[in-house]
Symmetry: C2
Subunit: 513 residues, 2 copies
Amino acid sequence: MSNQEARAGRRGRAARTEKRRGSQAAGALPYISRNLPVYDILSDEGAELIEANADRLLAEIGLEFRDDPETIAIWKAAGADVSGERVRFPKGMLRELIKTAPSQFVQHARNPERNVVIGGNNTVFAPVYGPPFVTDLDSGRRYGTIEDFRNFVKLSYASPWLHHSGGTVCEPVDLPVNKRHFDMVYAHLKYSDKPFMGSVTAPERARDSVAMAELVFGKEFVDQNCVMIQLINANSPLVYDATMLGALKVYAAANQACIVSPFILAGAMSPVTVAGTLAQVLAEALAGCALTQLVRPGAPVVFGAFVSSISMQSGAPTFGSPEGSLLLNGAAKLARRAGLPFRSGGSFTSSKTPDAQSAQESAQTILATLVSGVNFCLHAAGWLEGGLCSSYEKFVMDADQLGMMHVLAKGIDLSEEAQAMDALAEVGPGGHFLGAMHTQRNFETAFYRSEIADNNSYEQWSADGGLDAAWRANRKWKQMLASYEAPLLDPAIDEALISFMANRKAEFPDSNV
Amino acid sequence: MSNQEARAGRRGRAARTEKRRGSQAAGALPYISRNLPVYDILSDEGAELIEANADRLLAEIGLEFRDDPETIAIWKAAGADVSGERVRFPKGMLRELIKTAPSQFVQHARNPERNVVIGGNNTVFAPVYGPPFVTDLDSGRRYGTIEDFRNFVKLSYASPWLHHSGGTVCEPVDLPVNKRHFDMVYAHLKYSDKPFMGSVTAPERARDSVAMAELVFGKEFVDQNCVMIQLINANSPLVYDATMLGALKVYAAANQACIVSPFILAGAMSPVTVAGTLAQVLAEALAGCALTQLVRPGAPVVFGAFVSSISMQSGAPTFGSPEGSLLLNGAAKLARRAGLPFRSGGSFTSSKTPDAQSAQESAQTILATLVSGVNFCLHAAGWLEGGLCSSYEKFVMDADQLGMMHVLAKGIDLSEEAQAMDALAEVGPGGHFLGAMHTQRNFETAFYRSEIADNNSYEQWSADGGLDAAWRANRKWKQMLASYEAPLLDPAIDEALISFMANRKAEFPDSNV
């Protein structure tokens, strides 16, 4: 029996077990297939103008690829105009290169029922990425630990509205920097069977991530299929640094997906305008995406755009702003026109607490995310404090909002049953529909049922303790962790992972760089 | 000097005085002219299907017009199929009747700089309407009073993001039911110079409202121009009652605008589906709008849709739901196709407190309001607890969100200055834009500046007291009321209004029905 067959057999058993357990993610869809038209704010003429400006930026100003002679050599060999670390691109060169990238691709999960399709009309929600801090209403704000990390993996697994386990759901600051990637990747594989993200903080950590995926999926399968997706940020404006380039090259060579994302706070890292920022986003994303195709033609790559703005009074980052929504929407159109899957959006906020500000800013952005046609949405749940903090309460509040996005994404059902002409005839003027046969047939699935919102009367709500949404969310995440059951992981695979990590960790000393 | 000339002279003086005072609403626009494409979720084919269903409802089931023989006689004379209080409409009849209604119209304010255009690409934001309760964080929830009423009028006046003074900003429960309309209309005229809404709770109160408007604008001017807009709800499903019909007829005859709004909580007052509810909304709205044109052809009328859903577990109304957004969006398209201005949306929530739930639900709905192309948005600020409560904190939080909608409504600026190619050339790879000449030229107006959001660091926010958004809003509304200055009202007009009210109030005893 080949490695891959063995894996398939194990995955089949795991899937059957999952079905028996039924439980937490019952009714969950592996990802959203939108039946909702894309909302295009930027006109075709506007997009052409931005594209022409990006072409000029690429040809006249160019980008810098710092401290990475190998990448410079790749660009030189590809025919770019190289001068030191500065690389300029003749018009059309990058667009020609990205033609080999798939417009959509499957990211495989270890449970094949949780595979996601990234691109097209699909939207995949993944949790918050990167915060060094965590917070909850009981214990307050503190540095994240591997226990917090596992908890957020478990919450993503248990939520029917998260499709993905994500990556750095928080930084496990209690582990050494140079070894924590082992425990992070292992946590995703052990405590979830949803797709996940690999380490990008150094090329060897990227290679470790691929090696661990190979133990689960089989070496040949990984070489031919995407089983990991990674976040590669540009160092805006117009710079890529060696760390990100190193990870990009490892993953592209391994046929694993890179999300090439300009990380921009407009006003500081780009011009103070939407149109100017969009030209820069396009130039940076095209360069990074094209590089993946030079490393391995056909490797999956996602056009990313992390774009928000700063306060021009204080310089502080702002999130959920109207300018952020316009940037997101415009960048989505540019990605579609480039023929690449698009990553952006999330439940952004600069609030320090899961209050009205946090909800308002998150709602603005997540709606823009859905209607703009984002394919991969990182930071969809748990983000607080400008991304510095993963919040337990915010996580479940955001997840609830993502549930609503699932309903909105279905658009308007025009089936005969949905037209409900029989109900209207049955009830007639002045009646009510609660008892109508049509209502009886449809009420179970009729409306989204929030697990956070309180719709009761003031009197009932007061009698229930008068809790606000954040405190209801506090109860909810505790319930979710208390009833969490791990998905089955083949003990042989588990042992192989543990053994691999132990051996690799013994090869070099702990370090916090 | 004619009445109208005198009025114009007074308004001229008032406007000049307003300009000198400059003050609170500086930079405010009288209404939003959207430079943003309308987001169409319902396809043309879908709209045709809904329209055919509405035609069938109107022809086969019809509507009831209860306890109002005059309205029945109007329909009979117009050629409808009348049987008792049930009226059925031959296909096409109502669409023919509404052809005399304007597709957009001006509602005049007593300060002409605050006139609003209702229809077309324009959006007008008006405050919450109808709550018997008010709440603030200091005093908690209690019945509204005329002092609260005046406070909300003052807050709407002082906010640059509210275009309209609204109507029943809260019920002044301390005044007798049959006389409070005098004090409500007077408060709008005295404490604001933005456009406002008249009373609809009885035909004679509607006539009083018109009479008071005539004292301000002149009798002839009122007969030829819209100076008031009124909320006329259908008693869904498929019923209009005598109270609403009475007010509709008074206002239409006086050439004042009616917003004819099905008031629907889907699942109880309409089918449990979006498509079924939309057919009912269209049938009800067409019938009410057509009636205004039979009373006075050419009278301004707005196609309204107050549509949300109920919890199918508890029967409680739910707001800010994804189904509500789909209903709003679909109804907007039906109104556009009918050639009428459209009213819907608002900052809806069923939360009892200005928490994350309230903000999330409000954000969902207000974004749907803007991108769906709503022309008149009642309940844009202050709504809490399913509309039972006007909240001081929620009011200013919502108003801040409306400010963001003003930015979003501008769309993406593609001017040469916005393209910022000079900034990109000046800064180059690895630089920053804070000091760029382009940034210096544009930073003042670059990004929306929220007066509620806190974007500071965790440390700074903690040092500032660690307030959540609701408590920051608490400070803000108190500042707004403390610095409120009334717009000038000609003392002769003021005396005429006071004298009219005193005489009318003396004509009949107080009553609470």
